[in-house]
Homo-oligomer: 414 residues x 2
């Protein structure tokens, strides 16, 4: 028996029937003797419906009022879920972000949680109630309603779990866990029983949209064990925890992430002098274009080549900016390619194992796949390839690192 | 230049376009130099939509959670209206009931306002902002969201006007004022320029659904001048104020109200002894049936007849209860009629004028309309007739009391 925080996303509470299903699931946990705090999102489609109405009124809604508007989505769900719990004979009480004092800063639309006063929640738990909290929203010091930005409900759940020192924070979603890679691309992909926060961060940032990055960071920072599991079927899901030092024989690679929404741009022959990187990256950032990989290779003859990747939808804009810059910088030319994809190996085991990169490069070479860019971090190796090779490359790597087969359990050293 | 509280109902804010229209109207008032506080309802249809979803989950939603659910309707509107005001260059800020501290008791679904902390509103007004407040909702002492029941937005507006000592509380609706009677029944019906709180209460309670009864009571109690006017056309509407003593020559009758949703029940030959009225009315009240008129005539031979009217939809249930009671009470028989209608003359002038009743009864007799019941109060005479005579009776009375012709201004003695 322990305190568990559960979070159900928009799809899980998308219809009245599904809300009743979620209530049944919660009751089963209660019957096992656990204290349960539930965080819910808006019913799927609701946030977009509200945004659509706002856009009919003004193309640029006031940020404060947008949060007043959007926060109603979760408020509807908390009320409905409590009604469903009552119908099942399960005592429950709902709270908006403001009611449970989820204090944030005043950055409307993407506020950050500063503190949570968990006393109210503890009081209800002590009286045997399930506590249902609206995700995604909070209140600033002046009493204004704020929202945490899309997907912020995961963050609400983790923050509550941290404040309550919960035994586990369970994120219910429409997949049954974190996989070695996308099963739609590699049918042999396997659900992981465990993964570390760091690995999960890399997987998330590379397009595995199972969890919000901020929520994973938050959980890692406060050491909240996170579990991703399906709200539509039974199963253990994937537990995301700290790296356990006693794991002697853990697998080297935990998963393969990929992203096909990228484009790469190169500015060739820029003078290799201090400040040149900033003069390139500055205007790109000012145009609100996010950079992913940035690579600058060693120069020759006082010149160097500078390459970066952006989201594919920003490709044209980035190309125009770079073309203008090229003249100012005295660069030789600008090249671009928006038909690329990125494939990354992720694994904390990588730190202590040599040869990962060579196994990776050989596997790709064996399939005749040319590597266009390489970038590495402590627990990740990323390569950029032509996007037509994406699926082939992922399958080749999945096989080369033996990720298929029985359910992966990287950390069962104990 | 004064402080005006305006309330816009669900139809007035029923679409994004109409919300922009309301914003334009508010800006015109601002341009005239007035300070404006706006109270809005949920967009028309929204409350029913939410109730429908709740019913799909449970036939009997928890009252606390129902208020959490329903209060989102007004929250959506305040945000959208502020967005529209900003678009028109008009500074504005929205507040939920909780944010502006509309303190109520804890009677979920039909809470009563206890107090309002108007400091936040005054602060915004001082900074030149329009303040937009969610109607219909408040917060109890423990921080729970409450609602005031259907139509409660009128009450919110009046309560704010009272707290702020506003010069006027304007209720915008889909009619352009209070009429001598329903223009659909009597084409000659005229808009009243003024009417007293007491008269308005009688008109409201008799089916003229322009204003919520509670709001009128509230306004009368605190002396808040109320004005009913159309949100779709220009015009002065109808001002509801205290009776002005200097009015020497005011009209005797201000209007004719009627209600066709009634049924009457009579229990005949019950023993005329203490407690019998309670033994009849008690079980009816326990079955949540509301009584309208109650008439007991003088008895003979130690027996008496007891008649009351109920809403037509409660007729069958009331009839069953009464039939069971008849045996217990030793009554002779039970009679009922659900094809009746009530017509009432309303006017404060009635107090000082004899002959109203006789004019009324003669006008009905001239049309061959039989009166089935009569009941009077200080400023009202009500009769029950067969419902087929309703329109004929209302028209005959409207003409007999000279209510048609030029716009009625009952209180222009000054």
């Amino acid at each position: 028996m322990s305190l568990i925080v559960q979070k159900y996303g928009g799809t899980s509470v998308g219809t009245p029937e599904r809300i009743v299903e979620v209530a049944r699931r919660i009751r089963r946990w209660r019957e096992q003797g656990h204290d349960i705090v539930v965080v819910v999102s808006a019913m799927s489609g609701e946030t977009n419906r509200l945004l659509q109405i706002a856009r009919e009124i003004t193309p640029s809604p006031d940020p404060r009022e947008l949060d007043v508007l959007l926060s109603t989505g979760e408020q509807v769900t908390i009320a409905l879920l409590c009604m469903a719990l009552h119908r099942l004979g399960c005592a429950a009480r709902s709270y908006t972000g403001a009611q449970v004092h989820i204090r944030t800063d005043s950055t409307f639309n993407k506020a950050r949680i500063l503190e949570i006063d968990e006393q109210k929640v503890r009081g209800d738990l002590a009286q045997g109630r399930v506590v249902v909290v609206a995700g995604f929203q909070g209140v600033d010091g002046a009493g204004n309603i704020t929202t945490l930005g899309r997907g912020g409900s995961d963050t609400t759940a983790v923050a509550l779990a941290a404040a309550l020192k919960a035994g586990e924070c369970q994120i219910y979603t429409d997949v049954d866990g974190v996989y070695t890679t996308d099963p739609r691309v590699v049918p042999q992909a396997r659900r992981l029983e465990r993964i570390t926060f760091e690995e999960m961060l890399e997987m998330s940032s590379l397009g595995s949209k199972v969890l919000q990055i901020r929520a994973v960071e938050f959980a890692g920072k406060y050491g909240v064990p996170l579990r991703v599991l399906s709200s539509f079927e039974e199963g253990e899901g994937t537990l995301i925890t700290k790296e356990e030092q006693q794991d002697m024989e853990q697998a080297v690679i935990s998963g393969i992430a990929f992203n096909r929404d990228e484009a790469k741009l190169t500015i060739l022959g820029v003078p290799d002098e201090p400040g040149v990187a900033y003069r390139i990256v500055g205007p790109i950032g000012e145009a609100n274009i996010e950079l992913d990989m940035i690579i600058q290779n060693v120069g020759a003859d006082g010149n160097t080549d500078f390459t970066f990747t952006v989201h594919r939808s920003d490709y044209q804009k980035a190309l125009e900016i770079l073309s203008r810059l090229a003249d100012d910088l005295g660069a030789r030319e600008v090249e671009g390619d928006n038909r690329i994809a990125k494939i990354s190996l992720v694994g904390v085991g990588m730190r202590s194992h040599a040869g990962i990169a060579s196994t990776m490069f050989r596997a790709l070479a064996d399939e005749g796949i040319n590597i266009r860019m390489i970038s590495t971090s402590e627990i990740k190796i990323s390569v950029v390839v032509d996007d037509k090779y994406l699926e082939l490359g992922v399958r080749a790597l999945h096989s080369a690192f033996g990720l298929g087969g029985a359910v992966q359990d990287r950390s069962r050293g104990e």
